[in-house]
Protein backbone atom coordinates (compact mmCIF):
# COMPACT_ATOMS: atom_id res chain seq x y z
CA UNK A 1 0.00 0.00 0.00
CA UNK A 2 1.26 3.45 -0.85
CA UNK A 3 1.27 6.08 1.85
CA UNK A 4 -2.00 7.87 2.55
CA UNK A 5 -2.78 11.06 0.64
CA UNK A 6 -1.12 14.20 1.93
CA UNK A 7 -3.06 16.25 4.42
CA UNK A 8 -1.60 19.44 2.97
CA UNK A 9 -4.49 21.37 1.51
CA UNK A 10 -2.72 22.73 -1.57
CA UNK A 11 -3.37 26.33 -2.53
CA UNK A 12 -6.65 26.73 -0.70
CA UNK A 13 -5.91 29.52 1.79
CA UNK A 14 -8.89 28.85 4.00
CA UNK A 15 -8.02 25.17 4.33
CA UNK A 16 -4.40 26.09 5.02
CA UNK A 17 -5.41 28.39 7.86
CA UNK A 18 -7.80 25.77 9.20
CA UNK A 19 -5.06 23.16 9.36
CA UNK A 20 -2.66 25.63 10.93
CA UNK A 21 -5.24 26.62 13.53
CA UNK A 22 -5.89 22.98 14.40
CA UNK A 23 -2.19 22.48 15.12
CA UNK A 24 -2.05 25.65 17.20
CA UNK A 25 -4.99 24.37 19.26
CA UNK A 26 -3.39 20.96 19.62
CA UNK A 27 0.00 22.25 20.74
CA UNK A 28 -1.57 24.76 23.13
CA UNK A 29 -3.74 22.01 24.54
CA UNK A 30 -0.78 19.70 25.05
CA UNK A 31 1.02 22.47 26.94
CA UNK A 32 -2.10 23.08 29.05
CA UNK A 33 -2.23 19.37 29.84
CA UNK A 34 1.40 19.49 30.90
CA UNK A 35 0.66 22.48 33.13
CA UNK A 36 -2.23 20.61 34.74
CA UNK A 37 0.17 17.77 35.53
CA UNK A 38 2.66 20.26 36.97
CA UNK A 39 -0.11 21.68 39.17
CA UNK A 40 -0.91 18.11 40.25
CA UNK A 41 2.71 17.71 41.41
CA UNK A 42 2.09 20.31 44.09
CA UNK A 43 -1.57 19.57 44.75
CA UNK A 44 -2.40 15.97 43.79
CA UNK A 45 -6.08 16.23 44.76
CA UNK A 46 -6.56 19.72 43.30
CA UNK A 47 -8.49 18.95 40.14
CA UNK A 48 -10.23 15.92 41.56
CA UNK A 49 -13.49 17.89 41.43
CA UNK A 50 -13.42 17.49 37.65
CA UNK A 51 -13.85 13.76 38.19
CA UNK A 52 -17.11 14.25 40.08
CA UNK A 53 -19.27 14.12 36.95
CA UNK A 54 -17.88 10.92 35.49
CA UNK A 55 -17.60 9.25 38.87
CA UNK A 56 -21.25 9.97 39.65
CA UNK A 57 -22.42 8.95 36.17
CA UNK A 58 -20.62 5.61 36.08
CA UNK A 59 -21.48 4.73 39.67
CA UNK A 60 -24.86 3.05 38.91
CA UNK A 61 -23.27 1.15 36.03
CA UNK A 62 -20.37 -0.13 38.13
CA UNK A 63 -22.64 -0.94 41.06
CA UNK A 64 -25.02 -2.95 38.87
CA UNK A 65 -22.19 -4.84 37.23
CA UNK A 66 -20.60 -5.43 40.61
CA UNK A 67 -23.74 -7.17 41.85
CA UNK A 68 -23.75 -9.42 38.80
CA UNK A 69 -20.07 -10.20 39.11
CA UNK A 70 -20.20 -11.08 42.78
CA UNK A 71 -23.09 -13.42 41.95
CA UNK A 72 -21.19 -15.07 39.13
CA UNK A 73 -17.91 -15.24 41.01
CA UNK A 74 -19.42 -17.34 43.78
CA UNK A 75 -20.82 -20.00 41.41
CA UNK A 76 -17.59 -21.98 41.38
CA UNK A 77 -17.44 -21.89 45.17
CA UNK A 78 -20.98 -23.27 45.41
CA UNK A 79 -20.17 -26.09 42.98
CA UNK A 80 -16.96 -26.92 44.83
CA UNK A 81 -18.88 -26.98 48.10
CA UNK A 82 -21.33 -29.56 46.68
CA UNK A 83 -18.46 -31.66 45.41
CA UNK A 84 -16.90 -31.92 48.87
CA UNK A 85 -20.16 -31.86 50.84
CA UNK A 86 -19.71 -35.15 52.75
CA UNK A 87 -16.14 -34.82 53.97
CA UNK A 88 -16.63 -31.12 54.54
CA UNK A 89 -19.63 -31.80 56.75
CA UNK A 90 -17.67 -34.15 59.00
CA UNK A 91 -14.71 -31.78 59.16
CA UNK A 92 -16.91 -28.80 59.94
CA UNK A 93 -18.73 -30.69 62.70
CA UNK A 94 -15.43 -31.52 64.37
CA UNK A 95 -14.38 -27.92 63.97
CA UNK A 96 -17.56 -26.72 65.66
CA UNK A 97 -16.95 -29.06 68.61
CA UNK A 98 -13.44 -27.73 68.98
CA UNK A 99 -14.54 -24.13 68.59
CA UNK A 100 -17.29 -24.36 71.17
CA UNK A 101 -14.87 -24.68 74.07
CA UNK A 102 -12.78 -21.83 72.75
CA UNK A 103 -15.83 -19.61 72.39
CA UNK A 104 -16.73 -20.21 76.02
CA UNK A 105 -13.19 -19.36 77.04
CA UNK A 106 -13.20 -16.27 74.83
CA UNK A 107 -16.48 -15.10 76.35
CA UNK A 108 -15.03 -15.39 79.79
CA UNK A 109 -11.94 -13.47 78.71
CA UNK A 110 -14.07 -10.76 77.09
CA UNK A 111 -16.10 -10.37 80.27
CA UNK A 112 -13.00 -10.12 82.37
CA UNK A 113 -11.57 -7.67 79.88
CA UNK A 114 -14.67 -5.47 80.12
CA UNK A 115 -14.53 -5.57 83.90
CA UNK A 116 -10.86 -4.59 83.95
CA UNK A 117 -11.46 -1.81 81.47
CA UNK A 118 -14.28 -0.51 83.60
CA UNK A 119 -11.84 -0.41 86.48
CA UNK A 120 -9.44 1.57 84.32
CA UNK A 121 -12.29 3.75 83.03
CA UNK A 122 -11.31 3.20 79.41
CA UNK A 123 -13.94 3.41 76.72
CA UNK A 124 -13.52 0.60 74.24
CA UNK A 125 -16.61 0.99 72.10
CA UNK A 126 -15.47 4.16 70.37
CA UNK A 127 -17.90 4.25 67.45
CA UNK A 128 -15.09 4.75 64.99
CA UNK A 129 -17.00 3.01 62.23
CA UNK A 130 -18.57 5.43 59.75
CA UNK A 131 -20.24 3.07 57.31
CA UNK A 132 -19.90 -0.12 55.27
CA UNK A 133 -19.84 0.06 51.48
CA UNK A 134 -18.61 -1.79 48.43
CA UNK A 135 -15.65 -1.21 46.15
CA UNK A 136 -17.18 -0.92 42.67
CA UNK A 137 -14.33 -0.22 40.25
CA UNK A 138 -10.67 0.68 40.13
CA UNK A 139 -7.99 2.47 38.14
CA UNK A 140 -7.17 -0.77 36.36
CA UNK A 141 -5.30 0.81 33.43
CA UNK A 142 -3.25 3.30 35.44
CA UNK A 143 0.03 2.86 37.28
CA UNK A 144 -1.66 4.19 40.42
CA UNK A 145 -3.80 1.91 42.56
CA UNK A 146 -7.12 3.53 43.33
CA UNK A 147 -10.43 1.82 43.94
CA UNK A 148 -13.79 3.55 43.81
CA UNK A 149 -16.06 3.24 46.83
CA UNK A 150 -19.82 3.27 46.51
CA UNK A 151 -20.23 5.99 49.16
CA UNK A 152 -19.10 9.59 49.31
CA UNK A 153 -19.20 12.84 51.22
CA UNK A 154 -23.00 12.81 51.46
CA UNK A 155 -22.72 9.55 53.38
CA UNK A 156 -20.08 10.99 55.68
CA UNK A 157 -16.90 9.73 54.01
CA UNK A 158 -14.02 12.20 54.27
CA UNK A 159 -10.56 12.22 52.76
CA UNK A 160 -7.98 10.52 54.95
CA UNK A 161 -10.35 8.03 56.58
CA UNK A 162 -8.96 4.49 56.83
CA UNK A 163 -10.78 1.73 54.96
CA UNK A 164 -10.66 -1.87 56.13
CA UNK A 165 -12.24 -5.22 55.47
CA UNK A 166 -12.83 -8.03 57.97
CA UNK A 167 -9.66 -9.71 56.66
CA UNK A 168 -7.45 -6.67 57.05
CA UNK A 169 -6.54 -3.18 55.92
CA UNK A 170 -7.59 -1.99 52.44
CA UNK A 171 -6.24 1.56 52.33
CA UNK A 172 -7.44 5.06 52.99
CA UNK A 173 -9.80 7.51 51.33
CA UNK A 174 -7.99 9.81 48.91
CA UNK A 175 -10.69 12.05 47.47
CA UNK A 176 -14.46 12.14 47.72
CA UNK A 177 -17.32 13.13 45.45
CA UNK A 178 -20.94 13.37 46.69
CA UNK A 179 -21.69 9.67 46.23
CA UNK A 180 -18.34 8.03 45.54
CA UNK A 181 -14.87 8.10 47.01
CA UNK A 182 -11.47 7.12 45.67
CA UNK A 183 -9.64 4.77 47.98
CA UNK A 184 -5.85 4.74 47.84
CA UNK A 185 -5.17 1.02 48.11
CA UNK A 186 -2.54 -0.45 50.40
CA UNK A 187 -0.53 -1.58 47.36
CA UNK A 188 -0.23 1.89 45.80
CA UNK A 189 3.39 2.95 45.72
CA UNK A 190 2.64 6.15 47.62
CA UNK A 191 0.72 4.49 50.45
CA UNK A 192 2.98 4.21 53.48
CA UNK A 193 1.61 2.42 56.54
CA UNK A 194 3.38 2.15 59.90
CA UNK A 195 3.18 -1.50 60.94
CA UNK A 196 4.60 -3.81 63.58
CA UNK A 197 5.10 -7.53 63.79
CA UNK A 198 2.11 -9.02 65.56
CA UNK A 199 3.94 -11.24 68.06
CA UNK A 200 6.84 -9.08 69.21
CA UNK A 201 6.03 -5.47 68.20
CA UNK A 202 9.06 -4.88 65.94
CA UNK A 203 8.17 -1.62 64.14
CA UNK A 204 8.40 -1.33 60.38
CA UNK A 205 7.15 0.71 57.44
CA UNK A 206 5.08 -0.85 54.68
CA UNK A 207 5.12 0.72 51.20
CA UNK A 208 3.15 -0.52 48.21
CA UNK A 209 4.97 -1.69 45.12
CA UNK A 210 2.08 -1.18 42.70
CA UNK A 211 1.96 -4.82 41.65
CA UNK A 212 -0.07 -6.23 44.50
CA UNK A 213 2.81 -6.71 46.95
CA UNK A 214 4.28 -4.60 49.72
CA UNK A 215 7.81 -3.61 50.62
CA UNK A 216 8.46 -3.81 54.35
CA UNK A 217 11.44 -2.10 55.92
CA UNK A 218 12.24 -2.53 59.58
CA UNK A 219 12.79 0.69 61.50
CA UNK A 220 15.43 -0.89 63.71
CA UNK A 221 19.03 -0.89 62.56
CA UNK A 222 20.93 -4.08 62.05
CA UNK A 223 19.98 -7.16 60.16
CA UNK A 224 16.52 -7.73 58.82
CA UNK A 225 14.43 -9.22 61.62
CA UNK A 226 11.64 -10.51 59.38
CA UNK A 227 11.19 -14.01 58.05
CA UNK A 228 8.55 -15.49 55.75
CA UNK A 229 5.28 -16.09 57.52
CA UNK A 230 5.49 -13.09 59.86
CA UNK A 231 2.17 -11.38 60.41
CA UNK A 232 2.09 -7.57 60.34
CA UNK A 233 -0.53 -5.35 61.94
CA UNK A 234 -0.92 -1.59 62.06
CA UNK A 235 0.88 0.07 64.93
CA UNK A 236 -1.35 3.13 65.27
CA UNK A 237 1.57 5.51 64.85
CA UNK A 238 0.77 8.50 62.68
CA UNK A 239 -2.81 8.80 63.81
CA UNK A 240 -4.61 7.50 60.74
CA UNK A 241 -4.99 3.77 61.18
CA UNK A 242 -6.33 2.07 64.29
CA UNK A 243 -3.74 -0.16 65.92
CA UNK A 244 -3.91 -3.95 65.51
CA UNK A 245 -5.60 -4.04 62.10
CA UNK A 246 -4.08 -6.97 60.16
CA UNK A 247 -2.07 -5.70 57.19
CA UNK A 248 0.10 -8.27 55.48
CA UNK A 249 2.05 -11.48 55.76
CA UNK A 250 5.73 -11.61 54.84
CA UNK A 251 6.43 -13.95 51.94
CA UNK A 252 10.03 -13.23 50.95
CA UNK A 253 13.07 -11.63 52.51
CA UNK A 254 15.84 -10.14 50.44
CA UNK A 255 18.64 -8.27 52.17
CA UNK A 256 17.20 -5.44 54.23
CA UNK A 257 13.82 -5.52 52.55
CA UNK A 258 11.00 -7.93 53.23
CA UNK A 259 8.19 -8.43 50.73
CA UNK A 260 4.67 -8.98 51.93
CA UNK A 261 1.25 -9.77 50.53
CA UNK A 262 -1.82 -7.91 51.84
CA UNK A 263 -4.16 -10.08 53.88
CA UNK A 264 -7.29 -8.44 52.45
CA UNK A 265 -7.62 -8.77 48.70
CA UNK A 266 -9.76 -5.82 47.53
CA UNK A 267 -11.09 -7.79 44.58
CA UNK A 268 -12.39 -10.59 46.80
CA UNK A 269 -13.77 -8.76 49.82
CA UNK A 270 -17.51 -8.36 49.85
CA UNK A 271 -17.84 -5.10 51.72
CA UNK A 272 -15.41 -2.71 53.32
CA UNK A 273 -15.77 -0.54 56.39
CA UNK A 274 -14.84 3.14 56.46
CA UNK A 275 -13.57 4.24 59.86
CA UNK A 276 -12.73 7.54 61.43
CA UNK A 277 -9.07 8.43 61.52
CA UNK A 278 -7.54 7.00 64.70
CA UNK A 279 -6.57 10.37 66.10
CA UNK A 280 -10.12 11.67 65.75
CA UNK A 281 -11.40 8.64 67.59
CA UNK A 282 -9.13 8.99 70.61
CA UNK A 283 -9.38 12.76 70.86
CA UNK A 284 -13.05 13.09 69.97
CA UNK A 285 -14.79 15.30 72.51
CA UNK A 286 -18.48 14.55 72.04
CA UNK A 287 -18.63 13.56 75.68
CA UNK A 288 -17.76 16.95 77.06
CA UNK A 289 -16.87 16.01 80.58
CA UNK A 290 -13.26 16.77 81.46
CA UNK A 291 -12.98 13.30 83.00
CA UNK A 292 -13.66 11.65 79.63
CA UNK A 293 -11.18 13.88 77.88
CA UNK A 294 -8.56 13.12 80.42
CA UNK A 295 -8.98 9.37 79.98
CA UNK A 296 -8.93 9.62 76.22
CA UNK A 297 -5.76 11.68 76.41
CA UNK A 298 -4.29 9.01 78.63
CA UNK A 299 -5.30 6.38 76.12
CA UNK A 300 -3.69 8.38 73.38
CA UNK A 301 -0.45 8.57 75.32
CA UNK A 302 -0.62 4.87 76.09
CA UNK A 303 -1.21 3.89 72.48
CA UNK A 304 1.86 2.24 71.04
Amino acid sequence: MARPPSRRPGHNRKAQYGLFASYVVAVTGAVVGLLLVVVAIFDPAGFAAIRTGTAELTRPLSTGLRHMVSGAASIDEVLAAYWRAGTQNVALRRQVEADRNQIIEAKAVARENARLKKLLKLVDEDGSEVLAARLISSSSSSARRFARLNAGSWQGVRAGMPVRAPEGLIGRVHTTTPNTAEVLLLTDSSNIVPVRRANDDIPAISTGLGDGTLEIRALSAGRNPFKPGDLLVTSGIGGIYQPNVPVAVVVRVQGEIAYGVPLANPSRVDAVVVERAFEQVVTRSDANTPMEQETSAAENAAAP
Binding site: G33, P44, F47, S141, R145
Partner: protein, 175 residues
Protein backbone atom coordinates in the same frame (compact mmCIF):
# COMPACT_ATOMS: atom_id res chain seq x y z
CA UNK B 1 -39.05 10.04 -1.13
CA UNK B 2 -41.41 9.39 -4.01
CA UNK B 3 -42.75 5.99 -3.10
CA UNK B 4 -43.04 5.16 0.57
CA UNK B 5 -42.98 1.45 -0.11
CA UNK B 6 -39.51 1.74 -1.53
CA UNK B 7 -38.23 2.88 1.87
CA UNK B 8 -37.05 -0.54 2.92
CA UNK B 9 -36.35 -1.86 -0.50
CA UNK B 10 -32.88 -0.58 -1.17
CA UNK B 11 -30.02 1.12 0.55
CA UNK B 12 -28.74 2.77 -2.57
CA UNK B 13 -28.93 6.53 -2.60
CA UNK B 14 -29.34 6.89 1.16
CA UNK B 15 -26.70 8.50 3.30
CA UNK B 16 -25.88 7.90 6.92
CA UNK B 17 -26.48 10.79 9.27
CA UNK B 18 -23.72 13.31 9.91
CA UNK B 19 -23.58 12.27 13.54
CA UNK B 20 -22.99 8.68 12.60
CA UNK B 21 -20.26 9.65 10.16
CA UNK B 22 -18.40 12.01 12.47
CA UNK B 23 -19.44 10.88 15.91
CA UNK B 24 -18.88 7.14 15.74
CA UNK B 25 -15.09 7.28 16.22
CA UNK B 26 -15.41 9.70 19.13
CA UNK B 27 -18.11 7.63 20.82
CA UNK B 28 -16.11 4.41 20.46
CA UNK B 29 -13.02 6.05 22.00
CA UNK B 30 -15.14 7.34 24.90
CA UNK B 31 -16.55 3.85 25.42
CA UNK B 32 -13.02 2.48 25.35
CA UNK B 33 -12.02 4.92 28.09
CA UNK B 34 -15.05 3.84 30.13
CA UNK B 35 -13.79 0.27 30.41
CA UNK B 36 -12.33 1.27 33.79
CA UNK B 37 -15.91 1.50 35.09
CA UNK B 38 -16.08 -2.30 34.99
CA UNK B 39 -16.15 -3.78 38.49
CA UNK B 40 -12.57 -5.06 38.39
CA UNK B 41 -10.43 -4.17 41.39
CA UNK B 42 -7.00 -4.54 39.80
CA UNK B 43 -3.94 -5.17 41.94
CA UNK B 44 -1.50 -4.05 39.22
CA UNK B 45 -1.76 -1.97 36.02
CA UNK B 46 -3.22 -4.83 34.03
CA UNK B 47 -6.01 -3.39 31.90
CA UNK B 48 -4.89 -2.20 28.43
CA UNK B 49 -5.79 1.48 27.79
CA UNK B 50 -8.69 0.76 25.42
CA UNK B 51 -9.40 4.44 24.78
CA UNK B 52 -5.88 4.98 23.45
CA UNK B 53 -5.99 1.78 21.41
CA UNK B 54 -9.25 2.70 19.70
CA UNK B 55 -8.05 6.27 19.07
CA UNK B 56 -4.86 4.96 17.41
CA UNK B 57 -6.83 2.44 15.39
CA UNK B 58 -9.16 5.14 14.00
CA UNK B 59 -6.30 7.53 13.35
CA UNK B 60 -4.32 4.96 11.37
CA UNK B 61 -7.35 3.46 9.65
CA UNK B 62 -8.95 6.75 8.60
CA UNK B 63 -6.34 9.54 8.63
CA UNK B 64 -8.81 12.18 7.45
CA UNK B 65 -11.30 11.72 10.27
CA UNK B 66 -9.56 12.97 13.38
CA UNK B 67 -7.53 16.16 13.71
CA UNK B 68 -4.72 16.38 16.23
CA UNK B 69 -6.72 18.52 18.67
CA UNK B 70 -9.23 15.70 19.23
CA UNK B 71 -6.65 14.30 21.67
CA UNK B 72 -7.53 17.11 24.10
CA UNK B 73 -11.19 16.38 24.87
CA UNK B 74 -10.75 12.63 24.53
CA UNK B 75 -7.65 12.70 26.73
CA UNK B 76 -9.46 14.79 29.35
CA UNK B 77 -12.28 12.24 29.46
CA UNK B 78 -9.76 9.41 29.76
CA UNK B 79 -8.05 11.21 32.66
CA UNK B 80 -11.39 11.55 34.39
CA UNK B 81 -12.09 7.83 34.01
CA UNK B 82 -8.63 6.45 34.78
CA UNK B 83 -6.77 7.23 37.98
CA UNK B 84 -4.10 9.24 36.16
CA UNK B 85 -3.56 12.90 37.12
CA UNK B 86 -5.77 15.26 35.10
CA UNK B 87 -3.82 16.50 32.08
CA UNK B 88 -1.75 13.36 31.63
CA UNK B 89 -3.60 11.76 28.72
CA UNK B 90 -4.56 15.23 27.42
CA UNK B 91 -0.89 16.00 26.89
CA UNK B 92 0.30 12.54 25.82
CA UNK B 93 -2.50 11.75 23.37
CA UNK B 94 -2.25 15.12 21.64
CA UNK B 95 1.53 14.82 21.34
CA UNK B 96 1.04 11.32 19.92
CA UNK B 97 -1.40 12.55 17.28
CA UNK B 98 0.90 15.44 16.32
CA UNK B 99 3.77 12.97 16.14
CA UNK B 100 1.83 10.62 13.86
CA UNK B 101 0.99 13.58 11.59
CA UNK B 102 4.67 14.46 11.41
CA UNK B 103 5.92 10.93 10.82
CA UNK B 104 3.29 9.89 8.31
CA UNK B 105 4.69 11.91 5.41
CA UNK B 106 8.23 10.74 5.95
CA UNK B 107 7.37 7.09 5.47
CA UNK B 108 7.64 6.08 1.84
CA UNK B 109 5.67 2.91 2.16
CA UNK B 110 2.74 2.27 4.43
CA UNK B 111 1.09 -0.99 5.25
CA UNK B 112 -0.28 -3.08 8.07
CA UNK B 113 3.12 -3.63 9.67
CA UNK B 114 4.07 0.03 9.50
CA UNK B 115 0.77 0.91 11.15
CA UNK B 116 1.44 -1.60 13.92
CA UNK B 117 4.94 -0.18 14.36
CA UNK B 118 3.62 3.37 14.66
CA UNK B 119 0.97 2.20 17.12
CA UNK B 120 3.57 0.30 19.17
CA UNK B 121 5.79 3.36 19.51
CA UNK B 122 2.74 5.46 20.42
CA UNK B 123 1.60 2.92 23.05
CA UNK B 124 5.06 2.71 24.63
CA UNK B 125 5.30 6.51 24.66
CA UNK B 126 1.87 6.98 26.24
CA UNK B 127 2.21 4.26 28.89
CA UNK B 128 5.75 5.25 29.86
CA UNK B 129 4.70 8.91 29.94
CA UNK B 130 1.65 8.01 32.03
CA UNK B 131 3.81 6.12 34.52
CA UNK B 132 6.22 9.08 34.65
CA UNK B 133 3.39 11.55 35.28
CA UNK B 134 1.92 9.28 37.95
CA UNK B 135 5.34 9.13 39.57
CA UNK B 136 5.99 12.86 39.69
CA UNK B 137 2.49 13.65 40.98
CA UNK B 138 2.95 11.83 44.26
CA UNK B 139 2.79 8.24 43.07
CA UNK B 140 5.94 7.16 44.87
CA UNK B 141 8.59 4.97 43.29
CA UNK B 142 6.85 3.70 40.15
CA UNK B 143 9.31 1.71 38.08
CA UNK B 144 8.99 1.36 34.33
CA UNK B 145 9.06 -2.42 34.66
CA UNK B 146 5.68 -2.13 36.40
CA UNK B 147 3.92 -1.09 33.19
CA UNK B 148 6.01 -3.33 30.88
CA UNK B 149 3.52 -6.24 30.85
CA UNK B 150 0.70 -3.79 30.16
CA UNK B 151 2.70 -2.35 27.23
CA UNK B 152 3.29 -5.82 25.83
CA UNK B 153 -0.30 -6.97 25.70
CA UNK B 154 -1.57 -3.58 24.63
CA UNK B 155 0.71 -3.83 21.59
CA UNK B 156 -0.41 -7.40 20.95
CA UNK B 157 -4.04 -6.34 21.21
CA UNK B 158 -3.71 -3.60 18.60
CA UNK B 159 -4.39 -5.74 15.45
CA UNK B 160 -7.59 -7.06 17.02
CA UNK B 161 -8.79 -3.54 17.85
CA UNK B 162 -8.04 -2.38 14.29
CA UNK B 163 -10.21 -5.19 12.93
CA UNK B 164 -13.07 -4.23 15.19
CA UNK B 165 -12.72 -0.56 14.22
CA UNK B 166 -12.77 -1.56 10.55
CA UNK B 167 -15.96 -3.52 11.18
CA UNK B 168 -17.55 -0.53 12.90
CA UNK B 169 -16.29 1.67 10.06
CA UNK B 170 -18.14 -0.47 7.53
CA UNK B 171 -21.33 0.00 9.50
CA UNK B 172 -20.58 3.71 9.85
CA UNK B 173 -20.40 4.51 6.15
CA UNK B 174 -23.27 2.25 5.11
CA UNK B 175 -26.75 3.61 5.57
Amino acid sequence: MIDRHLHHATRLGRHPSRFRLGGTPVVTVLLGSMVTALPVIAQSPSMPPFGLLILLAWRLLRPELLRAWIGLPLGLFDDMMSGQPIGSAMCLWTLTLIGIDAVEHRMVWRGYRQDWLIASVAIIFCLAGGAFFARITGGGEIKLILVAPQMLWTILLFPFIVRQCARIDRWRVMA
